[in-house]
Symmetry: C2
Subunit: 280 residues, 2 copies
Amino acid sequence: MTIENLSANKSFGGWHKQYLHSSSVLNCPMRFAIYLPPQASSEHKVPVLYWLSGLTCTDENFMQKAGALRIAAKLGLAIVAPDTSPRGDEVPDDEAYDLGQGAGFYVNASEAPWDQNYRMFDYVNTELPAIIESTFPVTNQKSIAGHSMGGHGALVSALRHSSQYRSVSAFSPIAHPGDCPWGRKALSAYLGKDRGQWTQYDAVQLLCDQRDCLPALVDQGQDDEFLVEQLKIDVLESVVNNNGLPINIRRHAGYDHSYYFIASFIEDHLTFHAEHLGLL
Amino acid sequence: MTIENLSANKSFGGWHKQYLHSSSVLNCPMRFAIYLPPQASSEHKVPVLYWLSGLTCTDENFMQKAGALRIAAKLGLAIVAPDTSPRGDEVPDDEAYDLGQGAGFYVNASEAPWDQNYRMFDYVNTELPAIIESTFPVTNQKSIAGHSMGGHGALVSALRHSSQYRSVSAFSPIAHPGDCPWGRKALSAYLGKDRGQWTQYDAVQLLCDQRDCLPALVDQGQDDEFLVEQLKIDVLESVVNNNGLPINIRRHAGYDHSYYFIASFIEDHLTFHAEHLGLL
């Protein structure tokens, strides 16, 4: 397996780099970005935070807009940002922004035509970490975070691969995709009409019969235009409270769904993960 | 004069907002962005840093990518980011990225067809500050900064309106536009072939016979792809050293021309301006 370096930008003493590789899970070339803090070297491997972005995003949005690299450089934490779906002329797509390319929803699709490429759950949790850990000066200690569709992806990844991650966090996650318009559309396309298949990709459903989970932090803006219809943080909060789960849900008056919100609180998230990754 | 609020995002306790207004200097509608830190109120006015962006940019690049809002919120400093040229179907343009819309070069054009709209020097230094100071809870204390073409704009603005600003800073400025390909192309189009007219928009030329100027900070990446051919920092450095000018030029190994570089050192710039604006 070869990976091709596409770009390199020094930032805060470390390096932001983009790579292209051939994904055997997704059956297409995939781009990802990594930030290696100045502490990372072959003699000093660092832990990794995986960041999953939201609808329409690529590997670039978080790296450019979140203000996270400054904090990662200070903490000695690597960050990996995958793309949000398989891509390319050979990959099925849809004209809508919320299905197909840019909208993989971090599931393993079972339905045609999506099932040949749309296996982002395995890509993010299995194939990509193996590549990262065999290529870069990082340890196998990792945490996962994301925004919106990526917040959903991070929560579901952490709940289903709880031994793999140390902690999980989300901004404005699609917490209950089985019961919101974005989620119903995507899950019915990728997984079919049988809602029993959707449960494995629904954080609220996965948490319903749990009394414990990984340490988790969730931040939600109260003026988020998608809060009521799409994100269902109220339902997540009910399950968390009913089951006594270690998920800290914080609500922030006045903040919206944008990176202006994420940037405002990303330091708390990176610090939270650094604590669980043994950096603090 | 009415201005229309286009967007509002809470960030770091303050507000990032975009506005549209009719510019009488530029003869077209113009968009700008302002960040008002949490300290700003009708009872507590704050000073302003004007940020001028580079080729192809709008009001959005700096606000989204520089990581500056966190620092402005901490310091109690407002930031205003104008667009980089007049815009619209009625405004002359060129197919190239380095002339016309997105490439105003912060000059007052004298040549047709540019002279009806391309008066960014007066827009940035006169019309826009008057609007800002009559509309928002800010003082008339201001500093100016920018990147690349905007670094050129900031230096020239500060040198020619030295009583208006407290300090100036630039990342990777086009320091000597009269003697680089970008500058020669733009200045000959906007100002005509008479190079005597270019002097007033060339930081190196303006500094040649000065023995003092506003406090200035310039950061330059040593791996900037435009350093040798376009930016001419060596020439600026010679004039600064020969004339004993209070311009601190810093060079940074490994950094390029991108916002990954700007983000790495923007805290130094905002702190520098805050000191000269009496905030520290």
